[in-house]
């Protein structure tokens, strides 16, 4: 079974802090994604990566950056966390761009 793990299930950070969310997949997938999920808004794509060191902006990249130094790991970085970034963050991976495998999510609260 494909396994996608995220470094934290719950995280509480202060405004202005730099925040790292880590995602690791164990099935050698080329593609990895970061979404945020908010009530009533569904999933919104922040960034995705189709290869090591490659990244593309999604629908809402502002305030975020990503890093993919190794194929299995995709990190989401909040350079200076703000309260409007309080959300559930979901990581996913796929062998193609369609069928995605999701991690359990990180619920981030910024105070």
């Amino acid at each position: 079974d494909v396994k996608v793990t995220q470094s934290s299930r719950y995280l509480v950070k202060r405004t202005g802090e730099k925040v790292f969310l880590e995602c690791v997949q164990d099935m050698d997938h080329e593609n990895m994604f970061w979404y945020r999920q908010d009530p009533g808004l569904g999933l919104r794509l922040i960034y995705f990566s189709y290869d090591v060191k490659m990244k593309e902006k999604g629908d809402i990249p502002e305030g975020y950056s990503v890093s993919r130094e190794k194929k299995e790991r995709f990190s989401l970085i909040l350079e200076s966390a703000s309260t409007n970034q309080t959300s559930m963050y979901l990581c996913a991976s796929s062998t193609d761009f369609y069928e995605q495998y999701f991690g359990p999510g990180t619920r981030l609260t910024v105070t």
């Binding site: 996608v4 994604f33 009533g40 808004l41 569904g42 999933l43 794509l45 995705f48 999604g58 979901l90 996913a92 761009f97 369609y98 069928e99 995605q100 495998y101 999701f102 991690g103 359990p104 999510g105 619920r107």
Partner: protein, 115 residues
């Protein structure tokens, strides 16, 4: 670009009753279609997918979905709902020809199951 609509924000059913969750898509050709389920506090799990061929697709947990090109729909069904089916359900569409290759997700339908 493709889009997907889930018209129902919440659906309430009694345990043992049948279920149908609606999904409508917009795309100029035959899309790739998916249903995912998200249990409380969890990530999304793929229930089933449609790429081509038989328009009635069987998935996990006793779910099925039917692709209807004439109605641009891909509705999810289950003949008898169990309390453990209470969750958020997301329909997604992928565009295989041109445009974005990233799936677009609907806003989700929350399923509530009464005992």
């Amino acid at each position: 670009a493709q889009s997907v609509t889930q018209p129902d924000i919440h659906i309430t059913v009694s345990e043992g009753a049948s279920l149908e969750l609606r999904c409508n898509y917009s795309y100029g050709a035959t899309p790739y279609l998916f249903w995912y389920v998200q249990s409380p506090g969890q990530g999304l799990q793929l229930l089933l997918k449609y790429f081509s061929g038989d328009t009635l697709v069987q998935g996990i947990k006793g779910f099925e979905a039917e692709f209807k090109r004439s109605q641009s729909s891909f509705n999810l069904r289950k003949p008898s709902v169990h309390w453990s089916d209470a969750a958020e359900y997301f329909c997604a569409v992928g565009a295989p020809a041109g445009g974005s290759y990233i799936p677009t997700f609907g806003r989700g339908t929350s399923l509530i199951v009464h005992p």
